[in-house]
Symmetry: C2
DNA sequence: ATCTTACTGTTAATCTATAACATTCGCAAA
DNA sequence: TTTGCGAATGTTATAGATTAACAGTAAGAT
């Protein structure tokens, strides 16, 4: 696990979330809070269904709306290769592009940044005169803990 | 469109596909051929459903099995951010890691390679002692044709 | 000839996500 | 203070994507 001070990053993330919402005039409502806290208290990526189980809500629209909101706010990332969501580890860094290491065994996800690589990719896109709006970099494999 | 000699790359791809199958003792069966040809004759990524419409088959398992086979054989790539499949432009280069530029407007997909970027990403993973088995790099945006 | 493995056919279920519409909440302007 | 508006919720139902399970067939090996 990349974050050795889980309680700290949890608190910090919650603060950031509230601040962000306030800044942009949106509300950090109960359902959003529930979804966000479920995610932030897990370093694993959770599917929408897993989330619904965890927060005891089996009305999909509520969860999906919260996820959409949080994702657009940059507080949560959707990892399309496994259809799962994870709380963002760099929410304070708005508009950043994230990379993910996703363990097939324990489903833990580590968010990291490789700006040089992203820069190269952007350059390729630019060379092809392609205007990028959204970048998804996901690496599936086995984490160090699960390699024994 | 990146390939200006569509008929050529189509033929070449088909040959490669048959050869690959033969080499590994698998059969390039009718359903697989149908799915593959539908994909290779389109530079756009197609969803499973679009494929089923195109090949006139509404029995999902048949199409999904063909897609699974082709994907594992490296003849087709699954683009998870849009849930769609595309014929591989570099099938002869086994085990390669591909990057995709996906146009939101026309849905055309360009497969390209940025080995330096991939190398940097791999390095990051290695630093975290993470064993990568599968890499997905997808950039969503607007292609040059659709920017006017 | 039969054994085995790959492959197909079919039905149904499960998982994932959204549509549609009525209702409520928080806040600001009349 | 009420009226009006946009944001957010509650609810039911549906649509869309993918796989499970099992029976059957085809092709090559021994």
């Amino acid at each position: 696990m990349s974050c050795k001070h889980h309680h700290n990053c949890e608190k910090a993330a919650k603060l950031t979330a509230e601040q962000l919402c306030e800044t942009y005039g949106f509300r950090f409502t109960e359902s959003r809070k529930q979804v966000f806290e479920a995610l932030i208290s897990s370093h694993k990526a959770l599917t929408a269904k897993e989330l619904m189980v965890q927060i005891g809500n089996n009305q999909p629209p509520i969860t999906y709306r919260a996820l959409e909101f949080l994702t657009e706010a940059g507080l949560v990332h959707f990892i399309s290769s496994i259809n799962a969501y994870i709380a963002c580890a760099h929410a304070e860094d708005e508009g950043h592009i994230s990379q993910f290491l996703i363990c097939k065994e324990c489903h833990e996800v580590e968010e990291f940044q490789a700006p040089d690589a992203v820069c190269l990719l952007m350059q390729s896109a630019k060379n092809g005169n392609f205007q990028v709006s959204d970048t998804s970099i996901e690496m599936l494999g086995v984490c160090s803990e699960c390699q024994n």
